[in-house]
Subunit: 217 residues, 2 copies
């Protein structure tokens, strides 16, 4: 079972590594990190480098496609080579998935048209511009297309996928293996529960970061 | 604020990336991935490569030390150069932390003597051999030494640390930024809640993997 995770400069590490840590434990899993140009890819904080060992051409037909997000997605939204690879891969997949703003890439590739989908809460309205139906849930399943909310949600998404692929017992075993018994110190991980001033402040910061990134292009 | 995360072949990616994703968002954070020999380090699944850009010598006195786990820790338990670096770094730190079997390395370095500590549930008894007091909690704080349980627990640990360092509001902002509103599909992330047959099976698998790793050395 080939699992392709595309990397690009400016991706968010946990978007990729959460699902990787779950999906790599499935029977027969072969996780491959891919990029248009293989090699080191730097996260959006610039302090971590992960390596895409394979080219997009090496994996034209993965069984699972798992697209991470990050500010770097914005540079790819009009990258026709990348979008075409996503479209072609999606034709072959058993599951097409994303975490955080990875769903904007699926959207730009036309994969979300008419489907409910989610992304990071701060940019969820943007999904509508791709013909998707923005849906405030942590994991949104629409046939074989599964989108997850921001950053850490990929762990929950991948465990659900593990259940579909290998059964409930196996998925529970993976959860136990990564000791995923979350005990966040606060109930502040969603705009529904976080203090409103933090929601506003963060939304402003993210919008500003987007403007800055746009100006730097 | 320098944050050193040592990498080594056979580390567990989420052990490192969970805390990285939280701590890198702290004001003035400079996360540095370090190794005795800088360069690409392969995770225990062999399917993901992350790069240690800095040598241990580059960061003799980090403010935060964050040691990830993974089967690769076993090769370092008697690596005097690595243990000596941990001991020296610990003398300078404001916080000395670990995720999963990273605490075995802290233990081997003599840092946990007389302290309560935790690690992955399947190997927690081993902490006693380093003079630590094995403690079944997700995050164990003992002065400036903070150990976390298996793999995914580093996110919870790092959010607690973020609160100590930057205050509750800032920590909540980070939690909201990474949308950490966990919704695991099962209540199976701890040996207390998982089906007993899975606990036994996984413990057997992990013991066997250790034996195999020992034989391969």
């Amino acid at each position: 079972m080939q699992i392709a995770i595309p990397l690009f400069d400016g991706f968010t590490a946990l978007d990729a590594v959460g699902p990787y840590e779950v999906l790599s434990r499935l029977p027969g899993a072969q996780v491959k990190f891919v990029a248009a140009e293989p090699g080191p890819k730097v996260t959006e904080t610039h302090s971590l480098t992960m390596v895409a060992e394979h080219s997009l051409d090496d994996l034209p037909g993965p069984d699972i496609l798992m697209v991470p997000g990050g500010f770097g997605t914005r540079d790819l939204l009009d990258d026709e080579q990348h979008l075409e690879w996503l479209r072609n891969a999606h034709e072959h997949t058993i599951w097409t998935t994303s975490v955080c703003t990875g769903s904007l890439l699926l959207g730009a590739a036309g994969i979300l048209r008419g489907l409910k989908a989610t992304t990071h809460w701060a940019v969820i309205d943007r999904l509508a511009s791709y013909g998707a139906i923005p849906t405030n849930e942590r994991v949104v399943e629409q046939g074989k297309v599964v989108t997850a909310a921001g950053v850490s949600s990929g762990i929950d998404m991948a465990l659900r996928l593990a259940e579909r692929i290998a059964g409930e017992d196996f998925a529970k075993g993976i959860q136990l293996g990564i000791e995923y018994d979350p005990q966040p110190p606060f109930d502040a991980g969603s705009p529904r529960t976080a203090p409103p001033h933090l929601v506003e402040a963060l939304k402003g910061l993210i919008e500003q970061a987007e403007v800055n990134a746009q100006a730097a292009r």
